[in-house]
Amino acid sequence: MSHDKQAAHTHPTGWTYIKVGVILTLITAIEVWAYYVPALVASPLFNPALLIMSAAKFAIVVMFYMHLKYDHKLFKALFTGPLIVAMGTITALLFLFHQLSIRF
């Protein structure tokens, strides 16, 4: 509990949250824009790029809005552990069903 208090103090302020919100919006805007540029969609980098962008958004929300960046390390463990297993499972399944292939 005392810990929560300190956490509360190290929390970023409203402005940080706003900035984060703006960044999220920008990334989303880029994603959608890219979707409408045939040249980009055609390029082999399209999917990887989109994945990276959404991963970034994912990370930002978790770190700032869910305070994982500032909160107790236990919570980091409780979240990242399962996340890794989940990611691994998705990847393995996609390979097994030939939706992904070694080259790319």
């Binding site: 399962p82 691994g88 499972t89 399944l93 390979f95 097994l96 069903f97």
Partner: protein, 638 residues
Amino acid sequence: MATIAAPSYASAGDAYAENTGIWSWITTVDHKRIGTLYLWTALFFFLVGGLEAVLIRTQLAQPNMGFVSAETYNQLFTMHGTTMVFLAIMPLSAAFFNFLIPLQIGARDVAFPRLNAFSYWVYLLGGIFITLPILFKVAPNGGWFGYAPLTTNSFSAGPNIDFWVMGLQILGISSLAAAFNFITTIINMRAPGMTLMRMPMFTWMSFVVQFLLILAFPPITIALFFLLMDRFFGTTFYAIAAGADPLLWQHLFWVFGHPEVYILILPAFGLVSEVLPTFSKKPLFGYNVMVYSGIMIGFLGFGVWAHHMFAVGMGAVADSIFSMMTMLIAIPTGVKIFNWIATMWSGEIRFTVAMKFAIALIGMFTIGGISGVMHSSPPADLQQTDTYFIVAHFHYVLFGGSIMGIFAGIYYYYPKMTGRLMSETIGNWHFWLTFIGMNLTFFPMHFSGMLGMPRRIYTYDAGQGWDLFNMMATVGTYILVVATSFFVVNFLRSRTRGAVAGNDPWGGATLEWSIPSPPPEYNFAQIPEVTSRYPLWDLKAPEKTAGIDHSHADAMTITDAHAVPVHEETERHTAKELGIPMPLPTAKPLFTALSLVVMFCGLLFMRNDMFAVAMTLILGGAASMIAGLYSWLTSPLE
């Protein structure tokens, strides 16, 4: 061993509860009483599953037997597997989670006592839900891993599979709720000084299991939800005509299924890791490595599931990867086996029944493990898969592993739960008959399997070279029936006639042995300050253990002698007298659980186009569940 006269109690905590009537059990939120409920229920289901096995074996005693029909047989083996896995072993482990974890970490209860009660009631009702149909010959008949498309409407129109789908869904809710509860309990309810690396090994293995549970159950929940949608609402997840891929089910199931098998074994590993040191008068050999290997097993367990699917044609690359991942698991498991042997090495081994079961686990599980490694080589497995060789493997690990470990745990902790010891004489009969019976039952299956006998066949023709092995297995099963009957008798009569146990009948090392048997509802009159892994041993013979632990310099010296009172408590106080606030008894969890199951029952009617009934039950159930949750969450706990 303590010889002082103390009253005996039907079960944990009774001596202190205001009333001990049935209502007090229905409304209890005491982790010890919930543990007791789990134990009794799970043992009952073990007998049910065993009875199903007995019928299976009788039908297979000889070629072309007509003891049961094909349809009945298919329901029997499906329910046998389902019952043993979900209704017997998992809840038997849960019984120990509930009773033991708070005692071992020096807590007064679990983090969410009422959620705990909820888990139990959901389990009980779910168990009834999935078991009752067998009395009406409409029990699930798709095998315990219910491969699609056989389980879809087109091939299983009857209600059989509906019971299975919803039953497992219900049981999953119970397991998940319990898992969140114990994760929180172990992280956050440890007594001062009880660092993670001082936790008793059973608590550690249970901790790993809780993570396996929260990560393994979602996939099967989804797989079952798809099946439910297919069967009730015409989706196409497993609809061959729509181009569905039956392997989707298999992958989702085994992504759950393999971690599940470690969910079944790790608690047993934990229990023997408590029993072996006590009866060898030695600390566990290589505690840290035991912890890490447990974590390793759990983690690797998520990367091997497709070894159940070597015959489906995944391709050479996938086969190779999963094969090697699977073999890797043999390493941490081997470490455990060898460390257990090393724990007994140069000890003073006392052959109590509990110890015998623990030793038997080492010997028998190893056999199952080795056959497991034989499966893990795909080309060889193609001769083994779906034969009795597999059946032999998993009974050696499940019966020779989980069940042996759980019996060890029951003999070891029965005095703590009831205040009285189980009879060693009857216990020895139980052990030896079980040991002989299980080997006679399951060892021949290695041969019938490699000699070409497929599994899940309700009958086989004469002259196939399997007759002898099947007869042996059946005889072995009858021996197991006798053995189990000895256990049942022992379990029942020791409650009143067993020798009085006292706090610490075995000379245990961990906190649970520092308090009366059965423990008072508040467990610890005073929360202990823990300074080592073996607080009681330090207290009794500090010189023995002092300072030998590499892991913490300070670990083996005890600061506050009052922390763990070893003197027998003569007169006992209620929580009230000590002014310890205890959670209030409440029937709300039961009510909520009931509403939940009513909802599922509603779905059943949906298919017999009794739409009105269905809707009433579903909406009614939902409403009362929300009501139940609301009053539950808004009413004070203590």
